[in-house]
Symmetry: C2
Subunit: 205 residues, 2 copies
DNA sequence: GCTGTTGTTGGACGACTGTACAATATGGGC
DNA sequence: GCCCATATTGTACAGTCGTCCAACAACAGC
């Protein structure tokens, strides 16, 4: 009966950081910025103690930046399902519409973090860097889909237009989930792109 | 020398409420939700005392709702420049692009408030109500511009698509002002609408 | 000049915030 | 079984938060 039951489990730093980021995103999802609190985050991370965030990230704000980066990484991962840089436009749309990356909670977390971008220069730089990748990837997919034809507007302009619309749809779907269904969002994506590119929809539609 | 200099000025309730809403929007604009604080708001309202918000609105949250309503009222006002219900599409676009309604500060305030909509059911209802008006107004303008022609997609769908894109553009312009200029936003608006409606741009372009 | 209504003040209050830090426990290497 | 690097704990701290409320002052009406 000398078996020792540890008071807590010790994690490797990267693993613990991931847990905290996860907990942070969860808190942002259900309480917005106001819910992003040391106490709540630690509780959401399985009851960790309050000192952990400072220890692993230096400050709460830096944890927020890590959350933003993680959210973007996931979305970019979704935008390249096969892991390849080259992804067809329809594959990208379907992946971005999947529940994993655009769940109600994820969208709320995005919205909460966006509200902080303007107040944190570092976060804005982070945003700019990621947005570039995102835009580039969409441009590439559009270029592939246009197949050499000349479009009514440039591929860059169409990509910006498309990304903006998707963001706006997600935004509205986040503000009022009952108005826009996931199917509505998909429909809008194809409506917009086909107005410039011609039919691109998969056959079963 | 018995002249009495008042310690403070007394305002009619509606006027004071307006001052506080104004101050609230200003605080949201430069500090996000975190900047929306009793102390800061009162200071921004010309140094009013802390008890005023509770007195006039009941709680800080209700002041936020009033701020949201005011922001939307202004935007809807911009979407109908002449005060009439009927407004041409181009008039609407130009009005919505004017500096008064889409200044950097205004956009930041919107973004901050959006982050709170999901956490406040009353705010969500407010949003829904206003969005309906906005959508209706855009549908009407599109219907007028389409002039009886059959479009590739329904007028409702095009309106949703247009509004989403505008929101997304504003969002990105708010997150990174250097990426998107006001002119870029205008260009995107016309690019999208003309893809479905044909040329609608004013002659001097 | 007085009175009454009501807009305004400003401090008290308890709860909660993020961070710093010294003490402690864990689990791998030997 | 011991040692040690380090992940973790939990409290102390100074500050800020939103709300309440009793006293006060402005100003219109008389």
């Amino acid at each position: 009966m000398t078996a020792h039951t540890p008071k807590y489990r010790r994690y490797e730093a990267p693993e613990r950081r991931e847990m905290l980021v996860e907990a942070g995103l969860a808190c942002l999802a259900d309480g917005g910025v106001s819910g992003f609190t040391i106490d709540r985050i630690c509780e959401a991370a399985g009851g960790a103690s309050r000192g952990l965030i400072t220890h692993h990230f230096g400050s709460k704000q830096q944890l927020l930046r890590a959350c933003y980066a993680t959210a973007y990484d996931r979305m970019l991962g979704a935008a390249a399902p096969g892991g390849s840089a080259q992804t067809s436009l329809t594959e990208m749309i379907e992946a971005l519409l999947s529940d994993d990356y655009t769940s109600q909670g994820t969208l709320r977390a995005w919205l909460a973090m966006w509200g902080e971008v303007a107040n944190d220069p570092d976060l804005m730089l982070e945003h700019r860097r990621y947005y570039d990748h995102y835009l580039q990837r969409v441009v590439q997919a559009i270029r592939e889909a246009s197949d050499g034809r000349t479009l009514a507007i440039s591929e860059d302009a169409l990509a910006t237009l498309f990304i903006s619309m998707v963001d706006g749809l997600w935004l509205e779907r986040c503000l009022d989930p009952e108005r826009l269904s996931r199917a509505d969002v998909r429909q809008a994506c194809y409506d917009l792109l086909e107005a410039f590119l011609g039919p691109i929809r998969p056959q079963n539609d």
